[in-house]
Symmetry: C2
């Protein structure tokens, strides 16, 4: 992508002023919600609602036309129908607005007539060298700027994970799941029909974006696969890239084709190519979020050998099931570690000392759990640690202890806290702020650990 | 299992009086929490804490010994260490207490010495013809009775799903996930070392239990596989049985062996045998819960043909990815259905009418979403319906409409409501009370739909 395209994308994500075209006073309508989303997210720039007859909306003055806008506009969000959108893009171009988000569908995905309409849309954008997001999209989000061009008003935690989604609905699912998990989002884009901006363009932008630490992608299919893989591979040399690819069967490929007009190739081939190029492949929304979470919160391990400390064996077995099919090794503890653990357990422990270490009753109280976690993390053959603890109504969680281990050893830790009772959210936020991602299921903790191990291997392979 | 064993299990799950042996005044100790769990869950029978020196605890009088208990005791929960537990089982037997839950570990899972100790425990139980749950277990839960013998105090929603878990920690994860999802639990058992009661014994009991509508199992491995499969197959003729089996790799099998002393066979073989016998196989805790949820809440479909209605294509594509690998068909709509949908969409709809039906903007408002859902559900080629809707900050959810469709057509519906904002929990509880399970991810909705289709096929195959 030429540098000016990157610069334009940067203006789109950080606009000084946003025009919202197609606002209405009816809260049931998309146009109203587009404006509301900006207000609700606390957009830090200027907002200019445009409507030929309204005077004010949501406390903001409404402008009759683009001619009346009093300040610079970097981005226009267009919420009118597919036909009127073409005219509005033309008008925006005439006014020198560098970027537009086109919400309406009804183009290429509708067959020949829609395709002709989309060609007119593209021609208008090209005429003025504009960046056009969509059409048929929810648009873009930049949490730090309070920018949300979708008609779904929301407030998201601010963080380091940026997302590219080929589906608005799946993209929303990912945002929701991340939000539920206390995982901060940086930028988000629903690519829609990709008329002028391809998946790769956004990817290239996010790869260079300093605020983005991890990139997650939901992919249906693309006729630009070669460039996508090349761009993603280059991005993965800067920061982790996690891809969740839908359309794993012929029946589903058909559905994907008719949705955004994209071609879906064989899932198996996609998967192999992704892996060869150092990309992480997720098999579900939950895995995508779990992997992004670990990579955004924890440091990278120096190797791929996992140590597990728990007081309940089952979840650690489920974890092993998942990690051994990925690139994680379960190492044996060294003799000195075994001695340290023995000393921590005391007389007559009724514990088999092995990895995973199931300390049973010895692991239930925070202080002793912490001593054992410290021993496991201190083993020279352990590169990252998963700590599995079942939350109890009134026993204190071993969060302080785990953070101390994290600081002392410098190794990445993940916590699997079984339970969602009162207090868990606070505990989770406390741990995550200290660099320890927290999971609620063994599978998700395993995916997080595997993502760290995988990307750690990749980065070391380059040095 | 002989009938008297079933009768004893029934007394265990519905005890008139419970003795708690090994209570202490220290909230950090297991013995305190065992008592607290009964109080916290609102146990409806009598509770008798036993301790040689304490007078009262948690507002209850404490009895000095089993001799002093003033009323009948059906169940003793034993929270002392593994050695003292053997003596206490003997004492309980002498007093004629028919059942014990033995919490402590330190038996067979610890090697030869532990095995000898466990033999003494078994001998004591056999001598008095007692039912012994565990040892090395969290014990049992019966929500309707307010019974929770674990040292994890909790309050669970009451419902029709009963669970057998070979791991306390995974069993707790399942309870937590179910609770988060508003899925009611009936009974729960952590089988522990299975000294005198096998997985199959509990399964046989739950198969006959009228309050149990669906059975979920977390399995690590068993040396009693033949009987387990036979029992599960028989149970599945009465009610759905969903199994999640861990230990899918050699490395993990090793961990499972050293945990509860059980042998883990090849996962692939287990899986095939389960499927041949009409059992549903889940691949994760999330899938187990999603399947149990659909089966507990929705009616069975008359066939396996799924209709999907959505306003955002992506999640429906992810759903298809999952269901087409299971036993679900995606049918084409019949001409009359297409006409009804056309009429509902009005002029110039910019919608391709197919299954899944992505109604885009037409599907965003509850009323029109409802009309389209009604058309899809009314198609004679559709046996069950998935309705995919992204929750919006202030647009009304189409819950009322979906419940009306459900009543009118008599067909099972599942809702995928993307979002967890305020109001979602209430909306979910409202829908689930009306027979429509609600999911938050496309994968989970797909697993729910597949479980309904699968068990529907199975039940029809018998008639």
């Amino acid at each position: 992508m030429p540098n000016d395209k990157l610069a334009i994308l940067d203006r789109l994500f950080n606009p000084a002023g946003v025009a919202v075209i197609g606002v209405t006073g009816d809260p049931d309508r998309v146009g109203y919600c587009l404006l509301e989303s900006l207000v609700y997210a606390g957009f830090k720039g200027r907002i200019y609602p445009v409507h030929p007859r309204l005077d004010s909306l949501l406390g903001l003055p409404v402008y009759r036309s683009l001619d009346e806008l009093p300040g610079p506009v970097d981005l226009a969000v267009i919420g009118v129908n597919q036909y009127a959108t073409v005219d509005m893009v033309e008008q925006c171009g005439q006014k020198g607005i560098p970027g537009v988000v086109c919400i309406a569908g009804g183009y290429r995905e509708m067959g020949a007539a829609g395709e002709a309409l989309e060609e007119r849309l593209i021609a208008a954008a090209r005429r003025y060298n504009m960046a056009l997001v969509g059409p048929n999209t929810l648009g873009i989000i930049n949490t730090a700027a309070g920018l949300n061009t979708s008609f779904y008003p929301m407030r998201l935690p601010v963080g380091r994970v940026s997302l590219i989604s080929q589906s608005g609905g799946v993209g929303l699912t990912i945002l929701q799941k991340a939000s539920d998990e206390g995982l901060g989002i940086n930028k988000w884009v629903g690519v829609g029909n990709r008329s002028t901006l391809e998946l790769s363009d956004y990817l290239e932008y996010l790869a260079r974006d300093r605020e983005t630490g991890v990139i997650g992608i939901f992919l249906e299919g693309t006729d630009d696969a070669r460039r996508l893989v090349k761009t993603a591979a280059a991005a993965a040399r800067q920061k982790p890239v996690v891809i969740y690819k839908a359309g794993r069967s012929e029946a589903v490929n058909f559905a994907a084709v008719s949705h955004t007009g994209s071609m879906a190739g064989s899932y198996r081939i996609y998967r192999q190519i992704f892996a060869q190029h150092g990309l992480l492949v997720a098999e579900s929304v939950a895995e995508l979020v779990a992997a992004c979470k670990a990579l955004a919160i924890a440091p990278l391990p120096a190797g791929n050998r996992l140590g597990v400390i728990t007081h309940t064996a089952g979840p650690s077995i489920v974890m092993l099931d998942e990690v051994v099919r990925r690139e994680v090794e379960i190492s044996s503890f060294q003799p000195a570690t075994i001695e340290t653990i023995k000393a921590a357990l005391g007389e007559n422990p009724a514990v088999v000392i092995k990895n995973p270490l199931d300390a049973a009753g010895h692991g239930m109280l925070a202080a002793s759990f912490g001593r054992l976690a410290d021993a496991v993390a201190g083993d020279p053959g352990v590169d990252l640690v998963a700590a599995v603890y079942c939350l109890h109504l009134h026993w204190r969680f071993p969060s302080r202890e785990l953070l101390a281990v994290r600081r002392r050893t410098g190794k990445p830790l993940l916590a699997l806290y079984v339970g969602t009772q009162a207090g868990v959210r606070e505990e989770r936020d406390y741990l995550q702020a200290g660099g320890i991602p927290v999971y609620l299921t063994a599978e998700e903790a395993a995916w997080g650990a595997a993502a760290l191990a995988h990307y750690g291997i990749r980065r070391r392979g380059e040095n």
